[in-house]
Symmetry: D2
Subunit: 345 residues, 4 copies
Amino acid sequence: MNIPNTRMFSSDNIAPVHPKVMKALQDINVNHCIAYGEDPYSESAIKKFKEIFGDNIDVYFVFNGTAANVLSIANITNTYNSVICSEVCHLNLDECGAPEKYTGCKLIPLPTPDGKIRVEQFHKYMFSFGFEHQSQPKVITITQTSVYGTVYAIDEIKKITGFAHKNNMLVHMDGARISNAAVALNCGFKEMTVDAGVDVLSFGMTKNGLMYGEAVVFFDKKMSENFKYIRKQGSQLASKMRYIAVQYETILSNNLWHENAKKANAMAKLLFEKIKDFKEIKVTQKVEANAVFAVLPAEVIEKIQKEAFFYIWDDTKSEIRWMTSFDTTEEDIENFVKVLRKYLK
Amino acid sequence: MNIPNTRMFSSDNIAPVHPKVMKALQDINVNHCIAYGEDPYSESAIKKFKEIFGDNIDVYFVFNGTAANVLSIANITNTYNSVICSEVCHLNLDECGAPEKYTGCKLIPLPTPDGKIRVEQFHKYMFSFGFEHQSQPKVITITQTSVYGTVYAIDEIKKITGFAHKNNMLVHMDGARISNAAVALNCGFKEMTVDAGVDVLSFGMTKNGLMYGEAVVFFDKKMSENFKYIRKQGSQLASKMRYIAVQYETILSNNLWHENAKKANAMAKLLFEKIKDFKEIKVTQKVEANAVFAVLPAEVIEKIQKEAFFYIWDDTKSEIRWMTSFDTTEEDIENFVKVLRKYLK
Amino acid sequence: MNIPNTRMFSSDNIAPVHPKVMKALQDINVNHCIAYGEDPYSESAIKKFKEIFGDNIDVYFVFNGTAANVLSIANITNTYNSVICSEVCHLNLDECGAPEKYTGCKLIPLPTPDGKIRVEQFHKYMFSFGFEHQSQPKVITITQTSVYGTVYAIDEIKKITGFAHKNNMLVHMDGARISNAAVALNCGFKEMTVDAGVDVLSFGMTKNGLMYGEAVVFFDKKMSENFKYIRKQGSQLASKMRYIAVQYETILSNNLWHENAKKANAMAKLLFEKIKDFKEIKVTQKVEANAVFAVLPAEVIEKIQKEAFFYIWDDTKSEIRWMTSFDTTEEDIENFVKVLRKYLK
Amino acid sequence: MNIPNTRMFSSDNIAPVHPKVMKALQDINVNHCIAYGEDPYSESAIKKFKEIFGDNIDVYFVFNGTAANVLSIANITNTYNSVICSEVCHLNLDECGAPEKYTGCKLIPLPTPDGKIRVEQFHKYMFSFGFEHQSQPKVITITQTSVYGTVYAIDEIKKITGFAHKNNMLVHMDGARISNAAVALNCGFKEMTVDAGVDVLSFGMTKNGLMYGEAVVFFDKKMSENFKYIRKQGSQLASKMRYIAVQYETILSNNLWHENAKKANAMAKLLFEKIKDFKEIKVTQKVEANAVFAVLPAEVIEKIQKEAFFYIWDDTKSEIRWMTSFDTTEEDIENFVKVLRKYLK
């Protein structure tokens, strides 16, 4: 098959697998190995997680981010609970109702101009406690980075987790792009998760160089004693688990995750720098990680998409999204800016 | 990491990825590629499916066999339907209730000494039609090969599908080991599925050499027009789909699936030939594919497991299961028979 | 037991059963009668429904309004659908997540100052069609009267149903207080439901004089062919159905429903007239049916509640709700106004 | 409406409401009364329950028996649990899959010739504990009286609850006909429930003289702290709760429940005595409560049904079921025996 040399800005999931990850997959591809996660590769990967997050964690691999979000929330809720979230978060907007179907919970979507939700928005839902007519608030979920590519500061996270815990609620973090956030905040994973009070993390690396797989990390082992049944019943127990485990071990070793995310973030920044003075482009969100949101003249969007594909974010406003990934190159950016220049005058 | 040279007979999922499949993964690991299955690799893989099954099919990749079973059945049922199955099939016994949780349907488990179910067992459930107090029978699901490693003859399948269709029911086949069945029956996939009246197939290859991924094949496009939503809501839409697609394309090309399954079946047969005269071993099922079921003296089981791991199937009867896979070697069998001999005097 | 002569304004469900309805229950309380709705009383009641709504309907009795809402929506959706509704409607706010748990659908709650939703709010959700990442819009549900006691004009309903049908969606009406709306609009049930394009109706009468029971009315028989299974599986098939049927037959006969609702509406109007000039009371919604919403000085609310109970609607604004019912008397109003006067100086 | 003087043996739910219960409904039908169970009638009824079962109970009213079964089991399970039951129990056979849909659990139906299940049948499912591939056994449910009208002796119940508790499981009793069992065993409700180790009871009285309503009784308050949300989300919170409460209070007072059940049981016994010597009738189950199961010549069944309706239990064997109720009279039996005589020569 001829492999077309395509470059896009549609998402960070269009990148290939990082070569070191691919090599690791190949290296372990010999001999027999017990299935379903009882293998030495899984054990070794989990050790790596504990180096990062500390010992009082439970780690479970699943296949993808939707599953990590849905099953981790199922694990800490009953069907009569509600989950407070941003209106535009993946869980609410882009999982085709998976959370409702699988957990039975009500999502309470909060409006937000920058993708981040604030404590001030939560108060009015706290009147439901104990009132059987209404879903009982149990989880606040935040997305790091947000879908707009903005980043919660550690203090912002602490304010949310403090509020949650004071109200007997738990905090879930959708960390599909947590590496990009860590680079943006110049901190490690621990500072903005368990140290900031987060209870459960969807710890995603597929957008940062893996082939597939996602990790659910519980920051308190008591919380997860039955999660193995939830994972299995959720169709998310991989038989050949070693191939997920080794990917995580690889990306978490030798700072590979950091290097990849740093590259992606830098390319978004570069793109922003090069277009910020275009009069026809209005950047709509702060460029803090690896996304650039912007409003373009409606009539050129399709033409530009044909040269390097990207998604329209909001049809009604001609707002588009450009994502960079670990393998975006400076040349990619320069070529794309040329394309922009061509159609924008 | 030191990779232990382990050999086991616990399942066919303990084998590594077939080297040709691994190579294919590596070969496509360049450039950008649109996510979620809109890519040329998925297109090409689906073309291969159509060469095998004919044009009137719809193919959807998911992550694993549980998902393929559960979502394909969800797609053709309402929650008030029932699903007739074997008591020992994976769907009933080994999916931690995933079918009930996800589809809402009732499973009707039928007893069976050899893992296969028969038309004669279905009649008594046909009185439920139209009676709102009872779940409405809608699907019969059969497993090829059965969990006991036995194989439905094509005529047996036709009898079941004929009965089902006469009663406005549909037939699902769990083909987690369909390659082993095809080799056993010396036929292709088409003869024992769409040509035999099967409506939906979980078309599994992970036990035959893939890393991950499973395909759901609908043998009538009208049936599946909304399956894409069911897959997404079921947390089974892979972002980097190309890596599932290329595995399927590879295994279905150049008869690789056949070669692998033939090897696995041959090794089970060899094992059976070598042990059938052991007085202490009572083989309990016909060895038609890649499984050997046998009763052993209770006191030796654990000792033998330590030398080459396998599962106890039925604790109450000291019945065990040995599975062979595409990478089981004659040497593996010989070594194992030596172990058996050692403990069985 | 001593029966306290309590008068309240907390809801219209605090009223007793209308004496004519109670008498009807007693009248049929003899002899044997086949269960589950195959009885002559159910047949006769359904005839009454057809006189009102026309012949192309299907009627199913369930136990209460939550069930009517949830099961009727389950019947016309798949789990991957979404349901557009008002943020404050009963379905979204006061059913403890029953719709999500039972239908699996996502609710899309729209903000609304007066309890009614408008076509202009729907457009942005129409971009989801065909995009598997997002729940597929399928139902718009409106509440008549709204939870704020406001009433959709027939033209407003037609605008919504027209929009829905143009987009292959269906319209459900929660008619828990449909009698009060009919009185307010001075029309019959048919004009504002099937004639206005509504597809399914939760036809409630418990707030208008019944003891229990609710009717789901489908305005197209094709829509409901499997609803009997959904009702049974939803734990909503009453064995002694005759006692629900006869209540409906009674309330729908001799204009009893109209007389009751007219009384309730008149009493709300009377209350409004008597308080509208209180400087300390700010009425917050138009009084169109049998509810009065108002902001009171926070410090008097509890005192007034002790004399005649009612609910606080919005704690953060000291907004309360007063409901009148078919058995509210002018004396009740006068006594209550005296209480108000006492505490409001 | 002309009320036909029909007499049937199809079920005990074809009887009317007991006149004393109807009178109680009427007696409380005045004034306003807070909704949703906060009323004095509910309080008073629950006091009656505590007189019967002791103080450490929680009582929740729902609408019907299916709901009581499904929601009580939902309350004590997670979706990955399994529920061991008789193959012919109502939960498994006659609730259209409500348990699977609502609880997500797997039912494990055990064969039983007399409707009762035994400890010996449970052992083989105990191997699933801790094994994530299989639903985790959590509840054993028994039906008292069984659907065959047979009765668990108190010692039989104790054996089951002892086994369950030893295995960290709970026991649910479906007491749709618990009054008939109490009469048969000549004991009270307490001896065969909480005193015998039962954890949760569906305490049914609709088949013994109520109009509607069912009570869920938890024999440990800790078990039920969140049940109010489950009931509400399950569409089973009655607004005008007082009308359920007062029915229970009435039937549980002055031994009315006992008198009714005694009458029903006596009539079944009378029927049995009168037919036991018919050569053409083969009674298939012990007549211990208010049911008679028998095989009749196939060709006469329809003719007899036309004179006094009853259900065919098993089409394949011409087995029918006759149920008596509290209002079955000796004259009813005599007339029916005449009919039998007519058609059986």
